[in-house]
């Protein structure tokens, strides 16, 4: 049944080679945890990707009940926690997922660093990876404000205030990030837009580049 479906699909758009290239190709034995348990270190990047997919899913459903407006952001967050079926679980998964992603990308980066994977010809992919790290940190920073509770408000106030110390353009930078002279209504809507529209678009593009380059360069030899 499934084979017939795949054949039907292949006659129309030839997915098999694509699929083989993306997800069904052989990998070296030294990266296979079933051959050698210590090879689990090669999984950190993949685990990060799975977590990112989970963040996409939980985030989309959270956005159904969340309102990015300072009079209602906190109330809608409480509503998700108290009145939405499994809302608390959904929110917790998104919350814990973000923490786990930070841990996983850190481990992933350490593995890359220790094994010297950043060397030519992979230095370009290292740069893409560092960009991804910055994107993920920005995700965390913008998402932190969204519940609009006191911790979120003051953490953001402190965080955004750092840019004031940039020479000459510090004040303008602060205003652009905060949407005004203070952390307020415009900051929340800005951060929401960045968190759910700008960053996902950036993240997906850079992830695409990241994976494309892994396939181009292949996996590094045994360590």
């Amino acid at each position: 049944m499934f084979t017939r479906f795949v054949r039907w699909l292949d006659e129309r758009m030839m997915v098999s080679p694509l699929w083989r290239d993306i997800a069904d190709h052989p990998v070296p034995a030294h990266t296979n945890p079933s051959e050698r348990v210590s090879a689990f270190v090669y999984c950190f990047g993949g685990v990060t990707f799975l977590l990112i997919i989970a963040q996409f899913v939980t985030g989309m459903f959270l956005a159904m009940d969340y309102v990015p407006d300072i009079t209602n952001a906190y109330n809608s967050t409480r509503y998700i926690m108290d009145h939405v079926l499994f809302g608390k679980q959904l929110l917790s998964m998104h919350n814990w997922g973000s923490t786990l992603i930070i841990i996983m990308v850190t481990l992933h980066m350490l593995r890359i660093y220790w094994m010297g994977v950043y060397k030519k010809p992979r230095e370009l992919n290292w740069l893409v990876g560092v960009t991804l790290l910055l994107i993920i940190l920005t995700f965390g920073f913008t998402g932190y404000l969204l519940p609009w509770d006191e911790k979120a408000y003051f953490a953001t106030q402190v965080g955004v205030s750092f840019v004031q110390y940039v020479p000459f353009i510090g004040k303008a930078l602060f205003n652009i990030i905060a949407g005004g002279n203070h952390i307020g209504a415009a900051t929340l809507s800005r951060f929401f837009a960045i968190h759910v529209l700008f960053l996902p678009a950036l993240l997906l593009s850079f992830l695409g580049l990241h994976f494309l380059m892994i396939r181009r360069n292949g996996i590094t030899g045994p360590y």
Binding site: D69, I70, T71, Q157, V158, S161, Q164, A172, L173, N175, I176, A178, G179, G180, N181, H182, G184, A185, A186
Partner: protein, 197 residues
């Protein structure tokens, strides 16, 4: 193929159409980018007027300050106020306080913003030390609001104020501290009383 002319070098028709296409796409990209970037950086040019807030009866504030001090010299007191804050499209009741001191003379009140110029915590008035201490990262300000230690880069903001029918009104500016901000340490104690027209 017999008779076929070799590709002409230089400016061909294909080059011309490519050029037209690139320029058109460039213009479209610019048309999209200008308003988009403009909308994003608007806040960098945002200017807004101060709002005037009633702080209380001058006689009461004076008495409170004198009571906090000793020997007819006023000391720092907290003066709470409420107002309607307009944050872009949101109107909300808000409250805060100012540090007020009766200093006499032609400019009898000296009113400081409690917002720490480091990262915006509310500073505490410590009467025993005659200083303001920030609970967040330990900035210290003199009674006049001059930053003397800690990470604070500037003195505390000073409110412009006016006297109307025996009541003190302060001007809340749209600045980091909500008050007028000194860049350096002088004038040490600016008089910011606004004379009535």
């Amino acid at each position: 193929m017999a008779g076929k002319q070799p590709q002409k070098a230089g400016w061909t028709r294909r080059d011309f159409f490519n050029w037209v296409l690139n320029v058109t796409m460039g213009v479209i990209a610019l048309l999209v980018a200008v308003p988009a970037v403009g909308a994003a950086i608007t806040p960098a040019f945002a200017r807004s007027k101060p709002i005037w807030i009633r702080l209380g009866l001058a006689s009461k504030l004076q008495a409170a300050s004198l009571a906090a001090g000793t020997g007819g010299v006023g000391s720092v007191v907290k003066a709470s106020y409420t107002y309607t804050a307009l944050d872009h499209w949101v109107k909300q009741p808000a409250s805060d306080y100012a540090y007020l001191r009766y200093i006499g003379g032609s400019c009898p009140f000296y009113i400081l913003s409690p917002i720490c110029t480091h990262l915006g915590c509310h500073v505490d008035w410590v009467p025993s030390a005659n200083q303001f201490h920030c609970p967040c990262h330990g900035s210290v300000y003199t009674i006049d609001g001059l930053n003397v230690s800690g990470p604070a880069p500037r003195p505390l903001g000073v409110f412009r104020w006016k006297l109307t029918n025996g009541e003190v009104w302060i001007a809340r500016e749209d600045t980091f501290t909500g008050a007028w901000e000194r860049q350096g340490e002088s004038p040490r104690r600016p008089c910011l009383m606004v004379k009535q027209a």
